[in-house]
Symmetry: C2
Subunit: 387 residues, 2 copies
C-alpha cells in the first residue's frame, strides 16, 4: 500500500512515523557488536539523557527489546524487594496492571484510588496522607493514563513525596508521555521513568526504555535479595548499557539494530529543536482537539480540563452513538481512532491520539483531518452537535 | 550506505536479511488491534505451526517483543515451579545462562557437563543415568550451541527421555537452530522450543518466539504457584495469542507490527519450498564451509564432525594468529565474522554463520565470499594452511 493511501493512525500509540525513522527500520543487517552499531547505540543512550533533560552522570538510561509493559518488570523486579510496600496512584487500567506486576515479584502494592471515579486522579491530600500512614519503598504514577487521557502532575506529586517521605522512590509510567509532556527528570527529583518507543518518541513498537536516577541505581545495587527476573534484571543490563555508552561492544542478549537505529534517528529529530517547543506544540494541538470536542458538545473522560493529557484525548460518544457505528465511518474517511480501554466503560468512549509527527509536522494536516473526520462521522450517525 | 557497499554479515546472528523482509520493517504505522494487522499476526502464528512441522491443535505458538533470551524466562517462570529440578545439558555459554535464569525463578538447575570439555556434549548414557537418579520436571537442551557450534541430537535425546522419564518436559533452546536444523516438534515429542527472529528465521532481532506442546500448556495451566514473571507470564500471553490466531483483536502489551510483518514475510518465503530442502541446503553449505576449514588445516571446536551444527561453524585460529589480527582483515574484504563467546577460550576462535538467505539465495555468493576472504586474511597474517 502506498503511504498516501493508508489511513492516518491517530490512536494513543503506535503513532504515525517519520519517513526517515521508517527508513532506519530497514537498515541492512549488521553485527550487534560491530563498531558502527555500538557507536549508534552509545549515542542513542546519550541522546536519551537529553530527552529526559538530565545531566546527572549517575543517572542511567536503558534500552531493551520488549514492549512498554516490560518497564513495569524493570521496576518491580529490581527497585522493589519482596514484602516492600508500593503506593500505586490509580487513574485507570494501567494502575491495576502495574500493581499486578509488583505483586508478581513479591512487592505489596496499595492502590490509592481516584476519589471521583473514572476521569479523576488521586488528590495531593490523599497522597500526603497515604505517605504519612505507611513507609513506602516507592510510589508509582501513570503520567498520562492512556485508558482515560488523565494527566498526573508528576512535578507537584514529586514535591509532596520529597516533603513527606523523601526516601520513597518516585517511579513514573511515562509510556504515553515521554516525548510530548514536559519531564525534567533531574529538576523534579524523579527516580525512574519507564516508556516505550511507539508513542511520542515516534519509533515503531519493540523497545522498552527506562531512565534511572543515581539513587535508583544505588537502591538496586544495595538490594538484599536477588532481582526477581532474569530478562529484566538490571544486574544483566546495567553493565551492557554502560559499555555501549562508552562505545565498547558488550553482550547479554542481542539488541535490535534496526529498532535502535530508528530510535537514534527519531531522537536526533526530536532534539533538533528545543524540547520546550515540542511540549508547547503538543499543548497547542491538544487544545485544538479539545476545543473541537467541546464545540461538538462532547465530553472528555478527564473531569477537569487542567488534568487532561496533551498527547491524547479520551471522549465519550454522544448518547445513541456507538463505537461499532462511528469507528468504521472514521476508517472510511482514512482515520484510525482507538476504542475504549477502561474496562468499566470500554464501549462508551473513544481515544484520539495526537503525538509525534502528526503534531510536529503540520504539513501532514493530521490533526485537522482527524477533527473533520470525527465531525463528519458523527453527523452521518445522526449526531450534529449540541442542541 | 548502499546495500551493495555494506559488509556481508556472516555471524551466527543477526544474519543477512532478504530485501522483502527488510521492506516489511518499514511498513507504515497501523493499529495493533486493527483488522489488517490482526490478520497478519494470526497468519504468522499459524505459519509457525508449519515451521515446527506441528499439526497438534493443542500446541501453542507465541510471538512476543523481546530478545531470544526472553525465551528462557518463558520456560523458567511458567513451566517450572519453585524447588522443581531441571536437568540442563551443558555444551557451553548458554547452558550457564539458562541455568542462571531457572534459578532466578526458584527452579533448581543441575548442569550435566560435557565430559570431554569445550566442543563436546553430554552423552546419552550420562543423560539416562541422570534421569534415573532424580525426578526432573524438565530437561533443557541447547540445540545448536552458538558459543561452540556443537549440535545436540534432540530427536535421540527425546527418545532417551521418553523411555527413562516420560513425564519430564523436553525443552529446546532453538535460537540458533530453528529454520536451519530439522525439528519435527510433534513427531519428536518436544514440549517447548524457544527461539528468536534474527537467526535462521531471517528477521531482524526483536522477537522472542516460543512453541509449546499441549502437554506444556497443561503443565502451565495446572501450576500450583503463580508464574514468576509478569511480562513473560503465559497467563498474560496465551489468551492474546489464541485471540490473534482466531483473528480477534486483543491487548496485553503492544506488539511490533513492523517486526511481525517482517516475520510473516520471511515465514512465507521459508515455507514456499519444502522444509526438507531448506534443511538439506544448510547441510550442504555447512559441509562446504567445514571442508574448506579442514583443507586450511584449521580445527573446529566441535570435536566430532557428526556433532557439528549446520548453521554455523566455530573454528580455532591457527597458532600465532589472533582475532585482533584476522577479523579486521576480513572486514577489509567485506565480511563480518564473529569472535569467540565461550569464556574459557573466547580469544582463541572465531565463528562463521551460514544461515538464511546467505545459504538459500546462492546468487548472493555469500558462502564462497566468506571462505575466500578467510583464506586471504589468514594468508595475509602469514598462515597458508597445513605444512
Amino acid at each position: 500500500m502506498a503511504a498516501s493511501d493508508k489511513p492516518t493512525v491517530l490512536i494513543p500509540g503506535p503513532v504515525e512515523f517519520d519517513d526517515a525513522v521508517l527508513g532506519a527500520m530497514s537498515h541492512p543487517s549488521e553485527s550487534h557488536v560491530g563498531g558502527a552499531f555500538v557507536n549508534i547505540f552509545g549515542e542513542t543512550l546519550s541522546l536519551l539523557r537529553k530527552l529526559f533533560i538530565s545531566e546527572d552522570p549517575s543517572a542511567q538510561p536503558l534500552v531493551v527489546s520488549g514492549s512498554g509493559t516490560l518497564g513495569w518488570d524493570f521496576v518491580a523486579a529490581n527497585l522493589i524487594e519482596p514484602k516492600e510496600d508500593v503506593l500505586v496512584l490509580h487513574t485507570g487500567y494501567f494502575a491495576d496492571s502495574f500493581a499486578s506486576c509488583i505483586a508478581t515479584y513479591g512487592g505489596v502494592p496499595t492502590q490509592l484510588k481516584n476519589p471521583a471515579g473514572v476521569g479523576s486522579r488521586p488528590t495531593y491530600e490523599q497522597i500526603e496522607q497515604a505517605l504519612k500512614e505507611k513507609k513506602y519503598k516507592a510510589i508509582t504514577i501513570t503520567h498520562t493514563d492512556t485508558s482515560t487521557g488523565v494527566l498526573n502532575d508528576i512535578k507537584a506529586i514529586s514535591e509532596v513525596v520529597r516533603r513527606v517521605s523523601p526516601e520513597t522512590l518516585i517511579v513514573v509510567d511515562g509510556v504515553c508521555s515521554v516525548g510530548c509532556e514536559e519531564i525534567r527528570f533531574d529538576d523534579w527529583g524523579l527516580d525512574c521513568v519507564v516508556t516505550a518507543s511507539q508513542k511520542a518518541i515516534g519509533v515503531p513498537a519493540g523497545l522498552s526504555i527506562c531512565y534511572l536516577s543515581g539513587r535508583a541505581v544505588r537502591t538496586f545495587e544495595e538490594r538484599k535479595t536477588a532481582p526477581g527476573s532474569y530478562f529484566a534484571s538490571f544486574a544483566n543490563w546495567l553493565p551492557i548499557m554502560r559499555n555501549y555508552e562508552a562505545k565498547k561492544p558488550s553482550y547479554f542478549a542481542t539488541p535490535s539494530p534496526q529498532l535502535v537505529r530508528a530510535l537514534h534517528t527519531s531522537l536526533l529529530q526530536i532534539l533538533s529543536i528545543p524540547l520546550e517547543e515540542r511540549f508547547a506544540a503538543h499543548k497547542t494541538a491538544s487544545q485544538k482537539v479539545k476545543n473541537a470536542i467541546a464545540e461538538l458538545g462532547l465530553k472528555q473522560l478527564a473531569q477537569d480540563p487542567s488534568q487532561a493529557a496533551n498527547g491524547m484525548t479520551a471522549v465519550y460518544f454522544p448518547e445513541g452513538v456507538t463505537a461499532q457505528d462511528v469507528l468504521p465511518k472514521l476508517l472510511g474517511r482514512g482515520v484510525v481512532f482507538a476504542g475504549g480501554l477502561h474496562k468499566e466503560i470500554a464501549t462508551k468512549y473513544f481515544r484520539f491520539g495526537h503525538m509525534g509527527v502528526s503534531v510536529m509536522n503540520k504539513d501532514l494536516g493530521h490533526i485537522d483531518k482527524g477533527i473533520n473526520a470525527l465531525k463528519e462521522a458523527l453527523s452521518e450517525s445522526g449526531y450534529n452537535g449540541p442542541k
